[in-house]
Symmetry: C2
Subunit: 216 residues, 2 copies
Amino acid sequence: MKADKISELTTNRLSIYLRCLNELASEGRKTVSSDILAKRFHLNSAQIRKDLACFGEFGVRGVGYYVENLRDQLTRILGLDHHHRVGIIGAGRLGAALADYYGFTQTNFTVAALFDADPGKIGEQIGEVKVYDVANFSKIAKKESIDVAVIAVPAQFAQPVLELISKAGIKAVMNFAPTPLLAGEDVKLKTIDLTISLESLSYFLAQPALPNGQQK
Amino acid sequence: MKADKISELTTNRLSIYLRCLNELASEGRKTVSSDILAKRFHLNSAQIRKDLACFGEFGVRGVGYYVENLRDQLTRILGLDHHHRVGIIGAGRLGAALADYYGFTQTNFTVAALFDADPGKIGEQIGEVKVYDVANFSKIAKKESIDVAVIAVPAQFAQPVLELISKAGIKAVMNFAPTPLLAGEDVKLKTIDLTISLESLSYFLAQPALPNGQQK
DNA sequence: ACCTGTGAAATCGTTCACAGCA
DNA sequence: TGCTGTGAACGATTTCACAGGT
């Protein structure tokens, strides 16, 4: 298919496929069909094939996919054969937790620096990582080769912080502030809005249970 | 429209509309049209009307929506006129950060208890909240009237923890473990997978810039 | 016989455009 | 005239179903 426009839903699933393949590889499996993959991990086999076909013809008819080969291909497609250096703006509890979280679980992402405006926090050491003055963001970002930024500041500061990040030339941003942000066309912004997620749980709980005990 | 099947995309947007209305209300605005709302908050006016029409006829032709009335309606629809009590399983950095995060920003959600299996953590006090032995989850959940659970444990423990939550009769669960979980039909599960989000940023960075400087 | 890659169909979601009411 | 509520058009995504390769 080799299309130019790959949907975000597809790339999100590539992450999932990669996880599955890592599991299969660690079990010593050599090949896997889209059908086996789908049944085992509760996916749809046609979707797996379509997603993969966007990037090349990785499968062999009558056989399936070679686990190690496909894993390597996905790793490359997702850019996980490169290291990424993450800067987190906001050294509150959330920023500190994320510094830990990424550091422990993601070998391809290293948290290189935390930033804050609070003089009481600047200079502190959180785990392996130092807290810098956010006023020096651009300078430190360059020195530390940061290519991914995480916004973990209160909502009202999120937009100016995003502009600071943009000006520093960083193209990939993850936002935890519960507010939509406006970013330039060349910047990839992912907002994870915990408030919306919580309120959607609240909505579900507010729905009356149907007679058979199921929810709507 | 009064439909039975409301999509999650719609309910997520209700949260956003509610935020916008709160902002307008605090400015003293009495009425607002879907068009004004859309232009100001970068939304689509037809979508706003369709979303709202799922739940009733709140608008007045020629006038728009009454800000306070619509805000109250959305608050009710989202179940935010009730308090929710949250239990967080996993008292690591992430669990602790979430305990703080929700406590500070969400007046409708109170973190009632943290749970962990580590004897070193049990009995600790994190902010206002005590850490209990996860073995006593069901008992404490009932005593504390917990109706929302948050999974903040490592991936390999997430499924058994979900089953524990289910058995305690809790119907709304937010999962931060980077793994898909299987839940019963009557349980609403939201997974927030930071690994997928990060890898999708990595994918974006791996794409070659197009000649005009834009990304694909 | 098995399994991929892919058009075609079905489903789901968004946007348009306008009838109808204040 | 201004604005909602909604059928219809459009667009995106998922699933089906099968031709064709091994």
